[in-house]
Symmetry: C2
Subunit: 142 residues, 2 copies
Amino acid sequence: MTSTDRGHDAIPDPARPPLRPTKQRLAVLDVLESFDDFRSAQEIHELLGDRGAGVGLATVYRTLQLLADHGEVDTMRSEDGESIYRRCSDTHHHHLVCRSCGATVEVEGPAVERWTSAIAAEHGFSQISHNLEIFGTCPRCA
Amino acid sequence: MTSTDRGHDAIPDPARPPLRPTKQRLAVLDVLESFDDFRSAQEIHELLGDRGAGVGLATVYRTLQLLADHGEVDTMRSEDGESIYRRCSDTHHHHLVCRSCGATVEVEGPAVERWTSAIAAEHGFSQISHNLEIFGTCPRCA
DNA sequence: CCGACTTTGACAACCATTCTCAATTAGGGT
DNA sequence: ACCCTAATTGAGAATGGTTGTCAAAGTCGG
């Protein structure tokens, strides 16, 4: 389930675990503020080390998954299969990602939402979700 | 580079290696005929074993990549990050995949193609490619 | 301040994928 | 057909991201 997967989760909040604001979780959230492109769990772990706040690698993974579950971060897979993360706005959106520098732009498009629903309905599919990522070369890297 | 990545490869055929029709490659192509949903390299390797034609795992991986490069198969990542493969038509298309049984429908949509190009252009991005996957529950599994 | 429950961290375990390299095979002359 | 050379294969080792384990430390309600 990727973060681009909103749109059919009408359930208010199915009794989620408390989610305590521990030092480590806050630290992760804090590093997430420091960039606006997608980074791997390992990179984030390293950044945490650099800034003094050493957080265990396993904890970084756990925290990122947790945040993703709670819709606090977007997840996607880089072209070589790594999971990469990024803070995101809480509305449904997609990403336009620069293939060379990783710069990311959040984009929205009712047209696509409508199209996917229509196509799915046409084939009798229900409980639809979708992933859309656009890759390209940004103006600065061109 | 995923198979949904056509559209900017205007180069005719940049001196591709010969690509010999070996026994193993033919065997892989043959198994690919036997199903119409996405399967992992490991599953394909196992199917090959079952049908007597034992092909080395490494070779299966190599062959699938090769076929993907040549546009003979579609590649995508399952939700848990595995690469999965499927024979495909040679036109640009996307997939509507059943979350529970894996049934796959190829779908086309000029609207989406136009939309992604427009969005990308609007942000000054060039050399665009995109991935779009739609997941849902098919009529038979509903 | 206490006890129950969470969370953490170091490290081992997993597992898909890739690498290595010697042995085999296919193709193109001759 | 027969060589020669380059491509291909297979078995196993190596890699690397991610998850599991479990004892130690932290957090919260009462």
